[in-house]
């Protein structure tokens, strides 16, 4: 690994504490990822990114900042990255997926807050993640859940947080409201960057992000095949990295991987036997480096073939209409696209149940694992409706509630193995 200590020190990170994280990550990644057999060669790039997770991309962001560019940090798939890139700025995902940051978050947040929020706040306050410390970074929060809404107020005491108001329903007037919200966001991004967002620039931004989505769609399409050409863990890693990598490079590397996976399908080459149980995971996002559930499932002999998650289909399934030529038309297209994403923060939210039902068919799924992070009231409540829908379809479903810690690992393993035994494959 290249030496990034000078950069980390310049970013005012807590180096001593950060060293602890640097010590455990390679081992965790090795145990979960490198132990897999017959991985696609295209995963080498993603392995490299993880091996320098706090170095290679942050140094690009620092470089961008030195050249006068701006960086926006986001926490949600409802934030329109297109607008940020249209202004010559960079958007990067910031969600925390490690228990390492949770205690830092608990210093200011109630213990019964979801670990994703605690880790995200903790990573900033503890100064142990370079992504959170890029100079002048604009933090973009959003109003998807109560935990986040209040957390922004507290985080805002440390660093300014711009909050995007996400509707809670999907009526026409809500879509119109989100259109207005995107207009305001354009103004904010223009103010911060000093760059005017022209229809040409926004058109380019839309194409850039659409291309990234298309590459991710291609990869995921290959997972419909049996035997499946890529493990769920690897596919999850690709999506997780897509949140903060350069979008053009993400599309390029993604398409390269998709080429390889399509060749594998032609050769009927897979990473699991053709008769391995095929699992769909739905629920709350799995931010990097949260690989816990995928690891348990896949080491028990089943293949995760699709994620109906923010770190899954919700991130890349829908494209923005590229034919609009005015800001108004483009913003309308953006609002329509983002309001197609089905998160449990909306009421009612039948679209998500339909999505799961459709994916179960498309991906030939044997069983659904509905997993939510602890203290996520929205997804844990909606699990009742997910189960109802799956019962209707005769698809076995297992509900799991967990956090980032390792201490329920064996209990989860028992549940997952019992579920697989029940599927009887």
């Amino acid at each position: 690994m290249a030496d990034y200590r000078q950069m980390w020190s310049d970013l005012n990170m807590d180096l001593e504490k950060h060293d602890l994280l640097c010590e455990v990550l390679p081992e965790a990644f090795g145990g979960v990822y490198l132990s897999q057999e017959n991985r696609p060669q295209g995963m080498d790039f993603y392995d490299f990114v993880v091996s320098e997770i706090h170095g290679v991309r942050p140094s690009e962001l620092v470089e961008h900042r030195k050249n006068g560019g701006k960086v926006f940090g986001t926490f949600c798939v409802y934030v329109p990255d297109e607008v940020v890139f249209a202004a010559g700025a960079i958007a990067t995902g910031l969600c925390g997926g490690s228990q390492f940051w949770v205690p830092g978050g608990e210093k200011v947040l109630p213990a019964n807050t979801c670990p994703l929020i605690k880790a995200s706040v903790g990573a900033r306050l503890d100064k142990t993640c370079p992504f959170f410390l890029i100079e002048d970074m604009v933090f973009v929060g959003e109003t998807t859940c109560d935990g986040k809404k209040k957390a922004w107020e507290i985080l805002n005491q440390d660093v300014p947080v711009y909050v995007l108001d996400i509707p809670q329903m999907k009526r026409e007037k809500d879509i119109a409201a989100f259109e207005q919200e995107i207009m305001d966001f354009i103004k904010k991004v223009e103010d911060v960057t000093g760059n005017k967002i022209t229809p040409e620039a926004l058109g380019e931004g839309i194409k850039l992000i659409n291309n990234k989505r298309k590459a991710l769609q291609r990869i995921n399409n290959t997972r419909k095949a049996s035997p499946v050409p890529i493990s769920g863990k690897d596919a999850l890693l690709v999506t997780q990295i897509a949140f903060y990598d350069d979008p053009a490079r993400c599309a390029q590397m993604g398409n390269k991987l998709a080429d390889e996976l399509e060749e594998r399908i032609a050769k009927q080459e897979g990473v699991f036997p053709a008769d391995a149980p095929r699992i769909l995971i739905t629920g709350t996002p799995m931010a990097i480096p949260n690989w816990k559930l995928h690891h348990i499932i896949e080491t028990a002999g089943a293949a995760v073939v699709v994620e109906e998650l923010c770190t899954g289909t919700r991130y890349f399934e829908n494209l923005v209409d590229e034919t609009q030529t005015t800001i108004e038309g483009q913003v309308r297209a953006l609002a329509e696209r983002y309001m197609k994403t089905n998160c449990a923060c909306f009421t009612p939210n039948p679209g998500r149940l339909d999505d799961i039902a459709r994916l179960v068919k498309q991906y030939n799924v044997d069983g659904v694992i509905d997993a939510n992070l602890q203290f996520c009231g929205l997804y844990s409540t909606e699990s009742y409706l997910v189960k109802q829908k799956m019962d209707e379809l005769g698809i076995p479903v297992l509900h799991i509630e967990t956090d980032y810690s390792e201490n329920d690992f064996e209990q989860l393993r028992t549940r997952v193995e019992a579920f697989l035994e029940m599927l009887g494959k």
């Binding site: 509630e401 967990t402 201490n407 064996e410 209990q411 028992t414 549940r415 019992a418 035994e421 029940m422």
Partner: protein, 269 residues
């Protein structure tokens, strides 16, 4: 040909040996701190009975939290599959198995002889045998004494959802001079309520069997039946349900005889 089921739980390790259609041996050992050692002791015990676990015509299935420590097992299966199989066998047919164990509580629905659905408590010891064990310790009695006290008492509500907080609640009730009997009844009622809640989130057949360590005490089943408004039966072999299921599944898997769902035991009425 012997089929052996070994169920190493968090508190007790249960072993059942099937010889054809009858139980050749069954015994319980405390799990202790090392499942590996427990597995070795079970092997030694079987040796003394003249049963060689390594013999070609002896097949072993291990289950429970310590299942991976049984290095001489021919196969490992989760306690869900094994408790389901064992419970349904004791009930002579499809039923809902409620297993209150030392570390977790499971509700398993059996349909056509296989697991159709199951539910387990979250990572928390409230509503498990562990809760009763901790509270009995706190009151300075053993578990059987706690049940005897409870039978003579009127339950004091214990509202905390967490074992640690509930323990504080029990301490303050003791401090307030409440009777041992009433506190004991409150403790049992708290577990009964949590188990019944879990069961009510599951679907209901009208046939419930209580298995696991708590099935040894009829009082718990009586309270649970009252809470559920359904009959809950117990069986003298109830604590062996997981080991029995494992042995039966070993017979299913390794035996050439096609009598997989044979009921080898007098079913409860």
């Amino acid at each position: 040909m012997y089929f052996i089921g070994i169920d190493i739980g968090s508190t007790a390790a249960k072993t059942v040996v099937l010889d054809g259609e009858k139980i050749a041996a069954s015994f319980i050992l405390p799990t202790g701190w090392s499942s590996k050692e427990t597995a070795a002791r079970i092997k030694a015990n079987l040796d003394e009975l003249g049963i060689d676990v390594e013999a070609d015509d002896t097949k072993v299935i291990a289950t429970g939290y310590g299942r991976i420590s049984v290095d001489y097992a021919d196969k490992v299966l989760t306690e869900i599959s094994c408790h389901g199989k064992g419970g349904a066998n004791l009930m002579a047919g499809d039923c809902v198995i409620i297993d209150v164990g030392g570390q977790d509580t499971k509700i398993i629905t059996m349909e056509k002889g296989t697991v159709a659905r199951f539910l387990m408590n979250d990572k928390c010891s409230a509503g498990t045998g562990k809760f009763i064990e901790i509270m009995a310790n706190r009151m300075g009695v053993d578990i059987m004494e706690l049940f005897m006290l409870a039978e003579a008492g009127t339950p004091i509500p214990i509202s905390s959802m967490c074992t640690v907080f509930a323990e504080s609640e029990v301490i303050s009730q003791m401090g307030a001079g409440k009777s041992k009997e009433d506190i004991a009844a409150g403790i049992v009622e708290s577990v009964v309520s949590r188990v019944a809640l879990l069961a009510s989130r599951h679907d209901s057949l009208d046939k419930y069997i209580l298995t696991g360590g708590l099935s040894l005490n009829p009082y718990f089943a009586v309270r649970l039946a009252k809470k559920l408004g359904q009959e809950v039966v117990t069986h003298e072999m109830g604590i062996y349900a997981g080991a029995l299921g494992a042995a039966l599944l070993a017979a299913d898997k390794f035996s050439k005889m096609p009598d997989s769902n044979l009921h080898r035991f007098p079913a409860v009425k």
